[in-house]
């Protein structure tokens, strides 16, 4: 229960070590366990209501596996909204096949997410699954999809390993941790010139992959690293000692990977301890994405991040998407919503191409979908089935009614 390799939105919780809490730990563990069945049962949207679809192909049953409970619930909500918006815009059909959508709770970690994935594949017998926020869940559920030959379109989890062996059944409409970070390396190297950069991230898989990705392109572009720190994941609430270390290293910029509560804590304290005005802060986009940015407020002003989406991207496709999303949900779309939206677009194209709704045909057709016209800009799937996509340099700026990640430029890769 102590270490989870999740990509975004992590909140540290419990580590029952106190003697008096020995019983408590047991109780907590069993409570966590019971939510597996409890939370998972909630799903089933529009269950058996599907009628015979229009067009040549019959209805298609799609599983949406997103967190509806636990710390990732806000991401799950965004993803659900993104996916449903695509369906609404296409009259409830993908590739001409009416969609019977089954939504299941991923929960926080693999203990809930993997059984939920298995349920979708074996009991619900869906033709394809979209979702998965947590990288550990994606890694744990992967084999289920490969073995039962059901395509999975990962709509968030960013661990490099999820797509490392390029199975025909595993696709990803989101990002790799390394990829998001690598996009920023050359730009930061150019900005700091002769100076050096300090790397600080949460001490878990996503943080390590992110700093490694940044370091590679940063050093290739001639940058030097002043120092590196990995903060205990999920238990760090006070960054002052680390911030002291950054100051003493004499670094002229900082690269960081944090998400969720840790992103709020780090960015706020970076500002409180006076580093914000002196040492520019760069990071992977999750540092300032969605609800996190609201909590950081003006403390995040001027933070520059790389990400494959921002609601301020200046294109007709994006404006149209943002407007539709705002009309439907009365909030600006996050990267999580876009990832699920694009997963729906990929399935739409695949079913269209295949002219069939069985999982085998959809998986095969996914390799033929070509370019997807996404709000983030057009992208294709690469040989690992990860998106080959543009990355944007974003800066937190004040906007009407709050703060937003304004796009400064597209990053060269």
């Amino acid at each position: 229960m102590s270490v989870r390799h999740a990509t975004v939105k992590q909140l540290g919780r419990r580590a029952g070590l106190v003697p008096v809490a020995a019983a408590l730990a047991l109780v907590l563990a069993s409570c966590g366990g019971s939510s597996v069945s409890g939370g998972g049962g909630g799903g089933g949207e529009d269950g058996g209501g599907a009628t015979e679809g229009g067009g040549d192909v019959g209805p298609v049953k799609i599983g949406l596996l997103v967190p509806l409970s636990g710390v990732y619930a806000p991401l799950g909500e965004d993803m659900e909204q993104g996916f449903e918006l695509y369906l609404e815009q296409n009259e409830g059909a993908l590739g001409g096949a009416e969609v019977d959508l089954v939504t299941v709770d991923e929960g926080e970690g693999p203990d809930t997410g993997v059984p939920a994935a298995t349920r979708l594949v074996t009991q619900e017998q869906v033709s394809a699954v979209v979702g998965i926020v947590n990288s550990a869940t994606a890694l744990g559920a992967k084999d289920t999809f490969v073995e039962s030959k059901v395509p999975l379109v990962v709509a968030n989890a960013g661990a490099n390993d999820v797509t490392a062996d390029a199975s025909p059944y595993i696709w990803r409409s989101s990002f790799t941790n390394g990829g998001v970070a690598a996009a920023l390396g050359a730009h930061v190297a150019e900005q700091v010139g002769d100076g050096s950069v300090y790397l600080i991230s949460a001490d878990y898989a996503a943080g390590a992959e992110s700093t490694a990705g940044f370091r590679e392109t940063f050093e290739a572009a001639g940058g030097t690293v002043a120092g590196e720190a990995a903060t205990p994941f999920g238990t760090t609430t006070d960054w002052q000692p680390f911030l002291n270390g950054i100051r003493e290293s004499g670094a002229s910029a900082v690269y960081t990977f944090y998400a969720g509560a840790e992103a709020v804590g780090f960015v706020t304290q970076y500002n409180q301890f006076g580093l914000a005005g002196e040492i520019p802060l760069y990071g992977a986009g999750f540092l300032t994405e969605g609800g996190v940015l609201e909590a950081q407020g003006e403390a995040a002003l001027g933070v520059q991040t790389s990400l494959h989406y921002s609601d301020t991207i200046d294109s007709d496709r994006n404006r149209e998407f943002v407007e539709a999303y705002q009309a439907a949900y009365d909030e600006v779309p996050t990267v999580y919503a876009v990832q699920a939206y694009d997963a729906a677009a990929a399935l739409d194209a695949a079913i269209e191409t295949a002219g069939a709704t069985d999982s085998e045909s959809i998986a095969q057709a996914l390799s033929e979908v070509g370019e997807i016209d996404s709000p983030r800009g057009p992208f294709t799937f690469d040989e690992n089935h990860d998106p080959e996509q543009p990355y944007y340099l974003r800066e937190v700026q004040e906007s009407e009614g709050g703060f937003s990640n304004a796009v400064l430029s597209e990053l060269d890769q």
Binding site: V20, A21, V27, V71, Q240, P241, A261, V264, G265, G297
Partner: protein
């Protein structure tokens, strides 16, 4: 030595700021265990409620007056929660059953808070006027954390005066030491115990609110707080004000100095220190005299 102090002043101050809120939160847990022999695992949840009082009232940055109002509201809610918890636990004997009952309450409270405020991380802002930085030995240091240290000292001194210098305090201490004897001289210990429970919970809620500008407010915070408070109580010893104070200062300093000086093993230092105390002084460093 001077150079070391210069480099680590901010860190030491930070340890004190953390110690202050830990003390304010843990002292209630310690006294409740000391007086009522009740293991209250809902203590962290009470602090969580305090933190969300801050979210509700101070979502937009407020004045110092509003912050004080939030503190008073948190204290009032804490009092009510403490009274309810005291009433619930008086008839339940045995630590395991108390733990299960209060843990259940904690889960319900945390879930209710999530229902109302959502799963997102919320930030509570330090009040206007206390949100800036001052220079401490040449490095900027947030004013609010200095205020936290000051509040911790005020609460510690206040509690010391009440517990050690007043008749009320003498009654509480006597109840910790020998409940039957206090009953024998004609004092209803149930009321004493309920009062301590309510007061402790009020402090826990205030502590949660004070900590919120630093720790934030999010689901799961209650577990972090409960865990640290339990460590403070185990290190300091049950049922004693001085123990809670010493425990809080030790935990605060180990947490921040450990990270600053020995980052590789920082995660283990806290529990290493607790293990050491348990090995050498199983009752804690400064347990209440005569506590059961």
């Amino acid at each position: 030595m001077l150079g070391w102090l210069d480099a680590n002043t901010a860190t030491l101050l930070n340890g004190l700021a953390l110690a202050s809120v830990l003390f304010v939160i843990a002292v209630g847990l310690s006294l409740v265990f000391g007086t009522m022999d009740v293991l209250n695992l809902a203590h962290g949840a009470v602090s969580l409620v305090g933190a969300y009082v801050g979210v509700g009232l101070l979502g937009v940055q407020g004045s110092i007056g509003l912050f004080v109002a939030a503190v008073l509201l948190a204290a009032a809610i804490g009092l009510v929660l403490g009274t309810v918890l005291a009433a619930m636990t008086t008839s339940v004997t045995g630590h395991l059953r108390q733990a299960l009952l209060t843990l259940g309450v904690a889960l319900i409270v945390a879930e209710l808070v999530t229902e109302v405020f959502g799963n997102d991380v919320q930030r509570v802002r330090a009040p206007i006027g206390l949100d800036g930085s001052v220079s401490v030995l040449g490095n900027p240091y947030p004013v609010y954390r200095l205020v936290m240290v000051a509040v911790g000292i005020v609460v510690a001194v206040g509690l010391y005066v009440v517990l050690e210098r007043t008749r009320l305090g003498a009654t509480v201490r006597a109840t910790v030491a020998d409940r039957d004897m206090v009953e024998a001289v004609g004092i209803r210990t149930t009321f004493v115990l309920g009062g301590v429970f309510a007061g402790g919970a009020a402090l826990a809620a205030v502590g949660g609110l004070l900590a919120a500008p630093v720790l934030g407010a999010q689901p799961g915070l209650e577990d972090t707080i409960l865990l640290l408070a339990l460590v403070v109580v185990v290190i300091g010893g049950l049922g004693s004000l001085r123990g809670a104070l010493l425990g809080a200062v030790l935990v605060g300093q180990v947490q921040v100095l450990g990270v600053a000086l020995l980052p590789e093993i920082a995660s283990f230092l806290l529990f290493g220190a607790m293990g050491l105390v348990l090995l050498l002084r199983p009752a804690g460093l400064l347990p209440a005299v005569g506590a059961k």
